[in-house]
Symmetry: C2
DNA sequence: TGAATATATGAACAATTATTCAAATATTCA
DNA sequence: TGAATATTTGAATAATTGTTCATATATTCA
């Protein structure tokens, strides 16, 4: 009786290990940003868009056609990709051409594929 | 009148480009698997677990402590990481130690970080 | 200017999913 | 064996999110 800790609070941990690892962790903001970035890759439609753009620049209508999706759905997803700086675009009249923004996309894609294919 | 296409079906596309890109696309299964893989990286809690395990092998309780989470929540997420072959584990008595399964995790993590930090 | 086309956008709906809570296993040790 | 600890698991809840549909905006061209 009169204990300061009840059962739920007790947890046996390797305190030295825990504080050592804690200090090496990236800050919460970077972890959040990383998760947000990978979340963008974590959808089949967006992954298909990325695969298509790995080949060449494409307009919204062509991407929709290639991915068997609607222009509206693709436009929504392109916005997500744009916000993460994964794609860029240029306008030519009423047509908007999208392309991959830098080489990281390809590198991340390839590393993912390596993992999948080596299992 | 008597047209075979109504407005919703009409879409002007660069057919040659579309079929060319279509042929280079990975099959749907690979695209799905890739999206599933990146989805696993796309959650802050799992990303924290991954960051911690980049340092050294850890038991469930210690991971929970490091990430300010509960053992139950961590256990659920470790199951997800296990299913994607991102972590492996070994049992020592009642303690289960988890560690990263191969070097792809670190590589994917690093590529993600490069993208974040170069913007 | 007005019709046609390409893209973007907002709201609504359905589906997915992370966490919590309670309870079940598994293991050690007195 | 029974208490204590570590982890797992299943169900429920709350929050997030992808697609659809209707509509808005932008651009070209007759």
């Amino acid at each position: 009786m009169n204990e300061e800790l009840n059962n739920e609070d007790i947890q046996i941990v390797d305190e030295e290990k825990v504080s050592r690892v804690r200090e090496t962790l990236p800050n919460d903001e970077l972890i959040f940003d990383l998760a947000e970035l990978f979340k963008v890759f974590g959808d089949s439609t967006r992954m298909k868009i990325i695969c298509a753009l790995l080949e060449e620049e494409l307009c919204v209508g062509d991407i929709a056609c290639i991915t068997n999706s609607t222009a509206s759905a693709i436009s929504h997803q392109l916005r997500v990709l744009k916000q993460s700086k994964l794609v860029k675009y240029r306008k030519e009249g009423k047509i908007v051409y999208y392309s991959l923004d830098d080489d990281h996309v390809k590198q991340i894609f390839e590393k993912g594929r390596e993992h999948i294919e080596e299992i």
